[in-house]
Symmetry: C2
Subunit: 249 residues, 2 copies
């Protein structure tokens, strides 16, 4: 089995209102990359958020009492803290200058996905803007997939995790593939039933794409060729572990 992972390097800076599918199609054409139903396309959350206008001007935010108190304690921007709180439906941990939150999508990550890096507006006052996660990343993935006529689309973001150092890219939006490959019921080569083997292939694809989209490289779009995947409508909802089944929690 052999797969190929290619980052598009010709994508311009994405701005609110841009037609992201068009920009991707043009970049792919420039680099001689053809799109077809065998391609899994991975797109970094940042450019999806920018194109969809999921960009917030911090000057319009009124920090709450909690946001101001936390910002004072940890020398943070109270408006940014307020934005993080507003993107959360549950605070998982809030300690030592770090906020880990469950977003309204059910994703657990630092700062509820709010990010200030590589955000620039046409008036060049970047310092006052931050991106939030797309409103419905599965829908974002579906739109890109329909428009680009590729096999599947994964929207990726870079998350920390418990126990292990460092961040990895994971899938926060999926269209066109089943994010889980369920081996239960299959047998190993000795005929023994495989126990509890459900592989989060969407996250493995996101991590693979992450290898060629290093932060700040300006390569937020990656084509994965040769990966045989289970075609399905797909949704990242199936990647969210139910609390009552989460023994790690």
């Amino acid at each position: 089995m052999r797969i190929e992972i290619v980052a598009l390097s010709a994508l311009p800076e994405v701005r609110p209102g841009d037609d992201l599918a068009l920009l991707i199609r043009q970049a792919a054409a420039t680099e001689g990359q053809t799109m077809d139903r065998s391609v899994v396309l991975a797109v970094a959350q940042k450019v999806v958020s920018k194109a969809e206008g999921a960009v917030v001007d911090l000057r319009e935010i009124q920090p709450s009492v909690l946001a101001r108190s936390w910002a004072d304690e940890w020398n943070k921007d109270a408006r940014l803290i307020e934005l993080i709180l507003s993107q959360s439906r549950r605070i998982v941990k809030m300690d030592r200058a770090v906020i880990i939150a469950e977003t309204r999508h059910g994703l657990v990550c630092a700062n509820a996905g709010v990010d200030q890096s590589n955000v620039v507006q046409s008036n060049n006052e970047g310092a006052d803007f931050a991106t939030v996660l797309p409103n419905d990343p599965d829908a974002s993935a579906r739109r890109l997939r329909v428009s680009l006529e590729c096999g599947a689309v994964i929207i990726t973001d870079t998350f920390g995790r418990p126990w292990r150092e460092g961040l990895v890219d994971v899938a926060i939006g999926v269209a066109g593939l089943d994010p889980l490959d369920d081996h239960r019921g299959r047998t190993d080569r000795q005929g023994r039933k495989l126990a509890s083997t459900i592989i989060a292939v969407a996250d493995q694809l996101a991590a693979a794409a992450g290898l060629v989209m290093p932060k700040g490289s300006g390569c937020p779009v990656v084509l994965i060729r040769g990966y045989e995947f289970q075609r399905a409508e797909g949704s990242t909802r199936s990647l969210l572990r139910k609390p009552e089944q989460d023994l790690f929690r």
Copy 2:
């Protein structure tokens, strides 16, 4: 940027005492795959454990009181439970038939890495055997790297994680590369300092390799070509998050 991920399919069933590097070299040669200093080789834990004889005959195990009580409650093999306990230095969770443990290597995973699938002995009484993790997976990786003259070696295993459904492959042994790519201090395209961006590239490589080594496929060896990595001795110790810095915990 473009990387290629190729699984070797010609590897025979690995048995204790086998020279794994030799088997890999032969399989690569059969498939016309050349090894050089640009290749990152990913090898599934299972074949490393088998070759190193990290295979335990359950008939030789005397279950402790705890192992017997847990096995009774959840209809498990008390010898297997005892083996899991013996491989643990700390039990993280023990609930609803699942044991999540910290191994003596510091890895947090289900069943302390003990696994019964795809274990067969020459006398074909596979049901009584289980593999444990290699004694020192970094050392296993180093030996393979020296012998195969590739750029880096990663020993992978398939782990569950909190919050998210499904398993992903992660690195449990590393040689020849820095498992973390530290972007701190670098700036984004607008000159803003990138905050807390340390990428667990060894885990991203493991996940990418996992895409072409589906469970039970008999493809436990994967070559990754074209990935530019930070050369270093490397150790998975740097992938273990210190408890006092683990806000997810």
